[in-house]
Symmetry: C2
Subunit: 221 residues, 2 copies
DNA sequence: CATCTAATTAAACGAAGAATTAAATTATGC
DNA sequence: GCATAATTTAATTCTTCGTTTAATTAGATG
């Protein structure tokens, strides 16, 4: 006869007894969204189970099902209410009708501000957009990409026609280069910080370095 | 009584009858390594099961176990015999004792040649080194990083002291910038190629663009 | 030709973990 | 007090995993 183990619970986690909680447990739903986001960022969306999110939030899987329905709907809620708003806040800061230098500076500064406010964004971006099979690739390509990169590339092409941008550059690749100079350093910060013992490099130094590199690189000089 | 399903096999795949194969099935082992690598690149190392590799190679899981032992040893073999050699081939092309401009050009060209020869490398790098929890992060940080990035940063710092490199740049961040300008475009190529309908941009155009950007960006002028 | 060995599949095993559901439990609001 | 909302418990049903044992066949050795 099999000895029925008493379903050992992870130490230190107390999921509470059943029943409705006493008085206003304030705002549970946003906390659940945050827990899901944290799991997505740490482990990847595909590798995150409902149980893992429940564990992260100190709650049972059944409760997640009660709030969001199935796993797909929960994922959708996180994307709609956490990820897309973050990206939208970035788009609105780009001055697409000014000089190229101002646009570039705003882009670099905007990415810096973005990762300061949403530190989880670069890692999520890398895993879920950049990686093949990433769960956000489709959403980003259809709802973000047509607005930001296309507009930037058009602006750069126009600047080249007007002679205010180095003609040896490719306007489309320049968009890629700018992302590589901002998103990549943000996503790899944990690596290079420890590799170079560079805890002295903050957001300001990074921005100054990037703009110094781009300012000269783009000039027609 | 449960109806015992006849273990339906994926259509089109014929795993052969048992028994030793007729005559030289030439070099099975490297083919198994390639299959494993393909799975790692497509799905990620953590998400790749022995069974998936076996399916990819048209072989049974038991055979993988026969050749490599357990899953960990197979992964180790792929890293040692496929991934690390690719990276080592890159390191040996960097002229660390010449001018900065030549070093930068060699870096950009070297990454270009590397991804032409090992097209799977950027995607693998992004998922397994850049992503938190990536399976290769440790190996790269201990066996690759101390040699390449440290040497580059030292070289840049020296050039700044000699007045041949823009003093507004940070020598350590410049290493990060160069990786962002090469590795990131390579890894995201499938995305921007389709996004910009840029099938006309080949390896040469990319290299020319990147060097044009860096050449001016680094100058003291 | 007989036998030993090497390479391969088949099949089964046991463990783990998944999503979802049904039922029990408790507090709140009317 | 009674209906309802919020929560856990426990069960159900699947899938998948890595590994092992046994069977099978071809080559190698004598």
């Amino acid at each position: 006869m099999a000895t029925k183990r008493p379903a050992r619970r992870p130490v230190g986690v107390r999921p509470r007894t059943p029943g409705r909680p006493a008085a206003a447990s304030p705002e549970l739903r946003p906390r659940l969204l945050d827990a899901a986001l944290a799991c997505y960022v740490r482990d990847g969306i595909a590798a995150t189970s409902l149980r893992a999110i429940a564990r992260e939030a100190g709650v049972t899987p059944a409760l997640l099902h009660y709030y969001f329905g199935d796993a797909t709907q929960l994922r959708q809620a996180v994307v709609d209410e956490r990820v897309l708003p973050a990206i939208a806040s970035f788009r609105s800061t780009l001055p697409l009708d000014g000089e190229v230098a101002a646009l570039v500076a705003a882009f670099v500064g905007g990415v810096g501000a973005l990762v300061e406010r949403y530190p989880w964004l670069p890692a999520l971006w890398v895993r879920e957009v950049l990686c093949e099979g990433g769960a956000l690739r489709d959403v980003v390509l259809t709802r973000v990409a047509p607005q930001i990169p296309q507009a930037l590339a058009a602006k750069f092409a126009q600047a080249q026609r007007e002679g205010t941008l180095n003609p040896d550059l490719d306007p489309r690749l320049l968009v890629v280069s700018m992302m590589g100079l901002t998103l990549f350093p943000a996503a790899s910060a944990p690596i290079w910080r420890s590799l170079f013992h560079a805890s002295d490099i903050g957001a300001d130094s990074l921005r100054a370095h990037t703009i110094a590199l781009l300012d000269r690189g783009l000039g027609v000089g």
